[in-house]
C-alpha cells in the first residue's frame, strides 16, 4: 500500500460489494432514447431480411421520431443533467436536447436518401443504409453523452464504422469505394491515437470517468506527471480533430465528401461532427483545469488555421461537393473557436452545429436532385440554372447566403454567437481573423450564385435533370424555411439552450 | 497465478511432462494398431497380422521404419517453416495436456481457466497446419491447409459454445471443480434425488438434460477439430492425396500423426471431464452393494475410470470414421455455420435459463 500512487483511487476501495449496486430499472428508462433507436435499427434489419424494403424508410423516420419523443419529457420540463447506468452516461436536460439534435441529422436525411437511392436504382440498399443510419445515431448518442472515456470510444467507433460503410455503400462506384477506404484507413489510425491518449489519462488518474477526473486536484497531477499530461490530451485531441476534419487532420475530407453518395454526405458531415464537437468540448472542459489554459489556446490556433485553410482552398474548387467539403473544414474552425472559448463558447458551438445541420443537409440534398453524372457537380456548368429553375435557384440562394453568414439567415446568427463568445473568452484576434476568412467564404458561395443567375446558359453542358423531384422538394423547402425562421427569430431556441445549459450542473461551473 | 513460475524450473514439473509424453507416445502406438484392427473388423478384413501376436507389434515396426527414414525437404519448400510446422502442431496439442488430468492427483496444473486454456492452445495448431501447407509449396498441401483453416475456424465456435454451456452450468472453468461437482449433486434431470445411488446418475448429462445435446455438438465439433472422418476434408486421400502433410516423411510425419492422435485424446478427455463425470465411477450403489463408493477415489480407480471412458469415446470416433462417408467441403461448412452454431448458441441460452430458474 505504501507504494501506491496517491492520486489513484485505491484499488482496495473498490470492494466488490460496493461495485454491485442494485440494478435500477430507472437505468433502462434513462437510456430509452438510445435503446429505442437500437431497437428500430434491428427492426429495419429484419424488415430488410424479410423483403419489406419499401417500408424501411418510413420505419426509420418513425423510429427516430419516437426516440426523439422519448427524450422530450426531460427537455420540456427542464430537468438537471444527471448521470445514469453506473455513472457511465448522462441523461436528462441538456443530454436529452443533444440526443434530439443528433437525431435531427438522421431524420432530415432519410427522405433525401430514399429519393437518391430510387434515382440511382439502388433501392436494394435501403435496409442496410437505414439500419446503419440508426446504429450510427446510437453511436453519436453514446459519444456525445458519455461520462466514461471507454464509452466515448465505443460510441465513436460505432458511429465511425457505420460511416465508413455508408461512404462506400455504392459498390460499383469507384469513387465511393475510394472514399470508404480512405476514410476507413485514416479513421482507424485516428482512433488508435485517441485510444492511446485515453490509456495515458487512465494511467495517470486511475480512472476513465470524466466526473472523477475533474475532482482530482490539478496540482497533484502537475506534480506527479509534469510532462505526460500534455501528450495524453494531445493524442485525444488528434482523435477528435480527425473526426471533425480540423486543419492538419483534414486530408480525408474532400475525397470522402466527393466520393460518398451525396445525401449520405449530408448525414456524415452533420451528425458525426455534432457528436464529436459535443464530446470533444465536454472532455476538454473536464480536463482543462488539469492542463491550464494552454490547451484552449492550441485549439483556438487550430480553429484559426482550419478557417483560413478551408476558406482559401474552397475558393478554388469547381466541384460543388468538393467546395462544400473544404467549406466544412472552415465551419469546423468556427465551431472549434467556440469550443476553445470555454463553456459559453461550447454552447455557441452546439447552436452553430444545429444550424449547420440544417444548411448542410439541405445543400447536399439539393445537389443530389440535379446530379446525374460527374460533370453535373461542376458548378461552372450551372450557368443560367437559377433563372431556368426558380425553385432550385431560390433555395440554393438561401442556403448559400446562410452558409456564407449573411443576415437575416440562420448562418449569421450561428457565427455571431461563436464570435461573441470568442471575444468574451479573450480570443479577440482570432475572432477578427475569423470574420475576415468568412468574407473569403462569402466570395465563393456567392460565386456559385453569380454563375447560376448572371451567366448565359450553355445548353450542351448543363445538367439534364432540372426539376427537383416532388418527394424531396417539400422537405428541402421546409429546411430552407427553418433556416430563414431561425435567422429572423433565434431567441426561442437560444434562450432554451441557455436554460438547459444552466441546469447542466458542473458543466456550467467550468 | 496461472503458473507457479518457480516450479517451472524444478524437476517437479519435468517429471510429469516426461511421463505425459511417454504416455501419449504409447497411447498413439496402440491407437494406430487399434484403429487398423477396428477398421479391419468393420470392413470384414483381417488387418495387421504378421508382426507379433495378431500383429500387435506392427505399429512398433512402423515407427522404427519411420524413425530410420530420411526426412525429405522439397527443393522449393520454405525450409524454416517446413521444419517448424510439425513442431508447432505437436507442441500446441501437447501444451493442452498441461491442464488435463489423467488421474486425481497433484501432477497436473490445476488452474481456474483450464477449459479456456485447452481451447486456446489447441487452436494454435491451425497455424502449424497453415505453415505446413504453405511451406511445402505443393498445391495439394496448400488446398489441404486452406480447407483445414476454414473448417477449424468454423468448428471452433460451436466447440467454444459447448464449453461455455458447461461452464455456465457449473459456474467455473476449473476442471477439478467440474469433476467434483459431478460427484456431489443429486437431482437426475431435475426430477428425482439420486444422491444415494451415485454413479452415472451424477454425470452432468444426466443431471442437466440439455447437456446431452451439448455433448453431441461438442463431440461432433471435436471430431472436426481433429480432422477425422467424416470431417477429414483437409486430408481427403482420394482428392488431396494426404492434405497438408503430403511432403512430410519420416519422423516429421510421425510427429504430425502423433499430434492427431493426441488431439483425439484431448477431445475425449474433455468430453469425459465435462459430461461423463470425469474420474468418478459410473457404477451406482445398489442396495447394500455400494459399488459407487467401492470403486471411487484413489489414484488407481480415478485414472482407471477416466481413461476407460476416454478410450471408449476414442473407439466411437474410430467407429464413426470407418462407418460414415466423407462430407463435401461446402456441406461441411454449412453444417457448422447453419446447424451447429445456432444450435449451440440456443443451448447456451438455455443453459443460462436452466441455471437461473429451471433447475431445482
Amino acid at each position: 500500500m505504501q507504494n501506491q500512487n496517491p492520486i489513484l483511487i485505491s484499488l482496495s476501495e473498490l470492494k466488490i460489494k460496493k461495485i454491485i449496486m442494485e440494478f435500477n430499472s430507472q437505468f433502462i428508462l434513462d437510456t430509452l432514447p438510445a435503446l429505442s433507436l437500437l431497437g428500430f435499427g434491428l427492426i429495419v434489419m429484419l424488415l430488410d431480411a424479410f423483403k419489406n424494403e419499401k417500408i424501411t424508410s418510413v420505419v426509420t423516420i418513425l423510429g427516430i421520431l419516437i426516440s426523439m419523443l422519448l427524450a422530450v419529457p426531460g427537455v420540456v420540463i427542464p430537468e438537471e443533467i444527471r448521470l445514469t447506468f453506473y455513472n457511465q452516461i448522462y441523461t436528462g436536460g441538456l443530454a436529452g436536447l443533444i440526443h434530439i439534435l443528433l437525431c435531427l441529422s438522421g431524420l432530415l436525411s432519410v427522405p433525401f436518401i430514399t429519393d437518391y437511392l430510387q434515382k440511382n436504382n439502388q433501392t436494394h440498399l435501403q435496409g442496410e443504409i437505414f439500419s446503419l443510419i440508426l446504429f450510427s445515431s446510437v453511436g453519436m448518442n453514446l459519444l456525445a453523452t458519455a461520462n466514461d472515456l471507454m464509452m466515448t470510444f465505443i460510441g465513436l467507433e460505432i458511429m465511425s464504422v457505420s460511416l465508413y460503410i455508408l461512404a462506400g455503400s455504392f459498390k460499383k462506384d469507384l469513387r465511393s469505394n475510394e472514399a470508404s477506404l480512405k476514410y476507413f484507413l485514416l479513421g482507424a489510425f485516428a482512433s488508435a491515437f485517441l485510444l492511446l491518449g485515453i490509456s495515458m489519462v487512465y494511467g495517470m488518474t486511475g480512472t476513465t470517468m470524466l466526473d472523477r477526473i475533474t475532482t482530482i486536484d490539478p496540482n497533484l497531477i502537475k506534480d506527479k506527471f509534469p510532462v505526460l499530461f500534455y501528450p495524453a490530451i494531445a493524442l485525444i485531441a488528434i482523435g477528435f480533430l480527425f473526426k471533425l476534419s480540423a486543419f492538419p487532420f483534414h486530408v480525408w475530407t474532400p475525397d470522402v465528401y466527393t466520393g460518398a453518395p451525396t445525401p449520405l454526405v449530408g448525414f456524415m458531415a452533420t451528425g458525426s461532427k455534432m457528436a464529436s464537437v459535443i464530446a470533444f468540448g465536454f472532455i476538454l472542459n473536464s480536463l482543462l483545469p488539469q492542463s491550464g489554459d494552454k490547451l484552449s489556446q492550441v485549439i483556438a490556433i487550430l480553429a484559426l488555421l482550419s478557417m483560413i485553410y478551408g476558406n482559401i482552398v474552397a475558393a478554388q474548387q469547381q466541384n460543388i461537393k468538393r467546395l462544400l467539403a473544404y467549406s466544412s473544414i472552415s465551419h469546423t474552425g468556427y465551431m472549434l473557436l467556440g469550443v476553445a472559448g470555454g463553456p459559453e463558447g461550447y454552447k455557441a458551438a452546439i447552436f452553430y452545429m444545429l444550424i449547420y445541420t440544417f444548411m448542410t443537409i439541405a445543400a447536399f440534398a439539393l445537389i443530389s436532385s440535379i446530379e446525374n453524372k460527374e460533370e453535373d457537380l461542376n458548378y461552372q456548368n450551372w450557368s443560367g440554372l437559377g433563372v431556368k429553375n426558380i425553385a432550385f435557384g431560390l433555395i440554393m440562394s438561401i442556403l448559400m447566403f446562410s452558409l456564407a453568414g449573411f443576415p437575416p439567415f440562420a448562418g449569421f446568427i450561428g457565427k455571431y454567437f461563436v464570435f461573441l463568445s470568442a471575444v468574451k473568452g479573450g480570443f479577440v484576434v482570432h475572432a477578427v481573423i475569423g470574420i475576415l476568412t468568412s468574407v473569403v467564404g462569402a466570395y465563393y458561395y456567392l460565386k456559385v450564385l453569380v454563375t447560376m443567375f448572371f451567366e448565359k446558359p450553355k445548353d450542351n453542358i448543363q445538367p439534364k435533370t432540372l426539376k427537383i423531384r416532388k418527394n424531396i422538394l417539400i422537405p428541402i423547402m421546409v429546411l430552407a424555411l427553418i433556416i430563414v425562421i431561425i435567422g429572423i427569430i433565434p431567441a426561442p431556441i437560444s434562450s432554451y439552450l441557455d436554460i438547459l445549459y444552466g441546469k447542466a450542473g458542473f458543466l456550467a461551473k467550468l | 497465478m496461472l503458473f507457479n513460475l518457480n516450479a517451472l524450473i524444478t524437476l517437479e514439473l519435468l517429471l510429469p511432462i516426461t511421463l505425459t509424453f511417454v504416455f501419449i507416445a504409447i497411447y498413439a502406438l496402440l491407437g494406430v494398431y487399434a484403429e487398423r484392427k477396428i477398421a479391419a473388423f468393420i470392413q470384414d478384413r483381417v488387418g495387421p497380422d504378421e508382426v507379433g501376436y495378431k500383429g500387435t507389434l506392427q505399429t512398433f515396426a512402423d515407427i522404427l521404419k519411420l524413425l530410420q527414414k530420411e526426412i525429405i525437404v522439397p527443393d522449393s519448400a520454405d525450409k524454416i517453416l517446413f521444419w517448424l510446422a510439425p513442431i508447432l502442431i505437436f507442441a500446441s496439442v501437447f501444451a493442452g495436456f498441461a491442464v488435463l488430468p489423467f488421474m486425481h492427483s497433484e501432477y497436473y496444473v490445476n488452474i481456474n481457466l483450464a477449459l479456456l486454456w485447452v481451447m486456446t492452445i489447441v487452436s494454435i495448431d491451425v497455424i502449424g497446419i497453415i505453415m505446413a501447407g504453405w511451406a511445402s509449396n505443393n498445391k495439394y498441401s496448400l488446398y489441404g491447409s486452406m480447407r483445414a483453416v476454414s473448417q477449424m475456424i468454423a468448428y471452433e465456435i460451436p466447440l467454444g459454445f459447448a464449453i461455455l454451456g458447461v461452464a455456465v452450468i457449473y459456474g467455473t472453468l476449473n476442471i477439478n471443480q467440474i469433476i467434483t461437482m459431478q460427484s456431489i449433486e443429486g437431482y437426475t434431470w431435475g426430477l428425482w434425488n439420486t444422491k444415494n445411488y451415485g454413479g452415472f446418475f451424477l454425470w452432468s448429462i444426466f443431471q442437466h438434460p440439455h447437456l446431452l445435446l451439448i455433448f453431441l455438438i461438442f463431440f461432433t465439433a471435436g471430431i472436426a477439430e481433429c480432422n477425422r472422418a467424416p470431417f477429414d476434408i483437409p486430408e481427403a486421400e482420394s482428392e488431396l492425396i494426404a492434405g497438408f502433410h503430403i511432403e512430410y516423411s519420416g519422423f516429421a510425419f510421425a510427429t504430425i500423426m502423433l499430434a492427431e492422435y493426441a488431439n483425439m485424446l484431448i477431445i475425449s478427455l474433455l468430453s469425459v471431464i465435462m459430461f461423463f463425470g470425469g474420474w468418478n465411477s459410473p457404477l451406482p450403489n445398489l442396495g447394500n452393494f455400494f459399488l459407487y463408493h467401492w470403486t471411487n477415489g484413489g489414484l488407481f480407480w480415478s485414472s482407471f475410470w477416466l481413461l476407460t471412458k476416454s478410450f471408449l469415446l476414442i473407439f466411437i470416433m474410430m467407429w464413426i470414421r470407418w462407418s460414415w462417408p466423407r462430407f463435401r467441403a461446402d456441406q461441411l461448412l454449412q453444417f457448422s455455420w447453419k446447424v451447429l452454431l445456432p444450435a449451440s448458441l440456443t443451448l447456451v441460452i438455455f443453459s443460462v435459463l436452466w441455471k437461473l430458474w429451471l433447475h431445482p
Binding site: 454491485i20 457511465q88 462506400g168 459498390k171 | 497455424i127 501447407g133 504453405w134
Partner: protein, 165 residues
C-alpha cells in the same frame, strides 16, 4: 527473480518480433512473427497476473484473427514485397525525426512514472470472476454496446460481399 527474467525476455522478444513484422518483406513471415509477438504480450500479461486477459489475448489474436490473416495472405498468394519508392526521402526523414521526438517525450514523461501498485494488489483483478462481475455491473452498458460495433461491421461485410440482383 524468475519473473524479472521472464519479463525482460518477453519484453525484448516482443519488441524484436514487432520490428521484424514491419521490416520483413515476406507477408507470410510477417504474419507469423505477429503471432509470436501476440504470444509474448500474452506472456507479459501473465507476469502481471492477468491470466484471463492473457488467455483471451492468445485465443482471439493468435488463434482467430491471425489465422484469418494467414488465410487471406495464402489466398492472395502475395510474393515478397518490392519497394516502389526510394528507401529514403525527405518526408520519411521528417516522419522519422518526429517519431523520435515523440519517443523522447514519452521517455521523459515516463521517467518518474510510479508503478500502479505491486503485482500482489492486482492479483485478484485478473480473475475471470472479477472481470465478469465488473463487466456485468459497472460496465454493462458499454459492454452491451460493443455488440453494436460487431453488428455494424457484420452489415458492412455483408454489403461488400453480397451479390444484389
Amino acid at each position: 527473480m524468475v519473473e524479472t527474467v521472464l519479463f525482460w525476455v518477453l519484453a525484448v522478444l516482443s519488441i524484436a518480433t514487432a520490428l521484424a513484422v514491419i521490416t520483413n518483406r515476406n507477408p507470410m513471415y510477417s504474419v507469423l512473427l505477429l503471432v509470436v509477438n501476440f504470444f509474448c504480450i500474452g506472456g507479459l500479461y501473465l507476469t502481471l497476473n492477468a491470466e484471463f486477459i492473457a488467455v483471451i489475448q492468445i485465443i482471439v489474436y493468435a488463434g482467430a484473427i491471425m489465422v484469418l490473416f494467414l488465410f487471406v495472405v495464402m489466398l492472395l498468394n502475395l510474393g515478397s514485397e518490392k519497394s516502389l519508392e526510394p528507401a529514403f526521402d525527405a518526408k520519411k526523414g521528417l516522419a522519422f525525426l518526429l517519431g523520435l521526438a515523440f519517443l523522447a517525450e514519452m521517455l521523459v514523461a515516463m521517467k518518474d512514472f510510479s508503478a500502479i501498485g505491486s503485482a500482489k494488489e492486482t492479483f485478484e483483478y485478473g480473475k475471470v470472476e472479477k472481470i465478469g462481475l465488473q463487466l456485468m455491473t459497472q460496465y454493462v452498458y458499454p459492454f452491451e454496446m460493443i455488440s453494436v460495433i460487431l453488428l455494424v461491421a457484420l452489415i458492412g461485410a455483408l454489403m461488400i460481399a453480397k451479390k444484389y440482383n
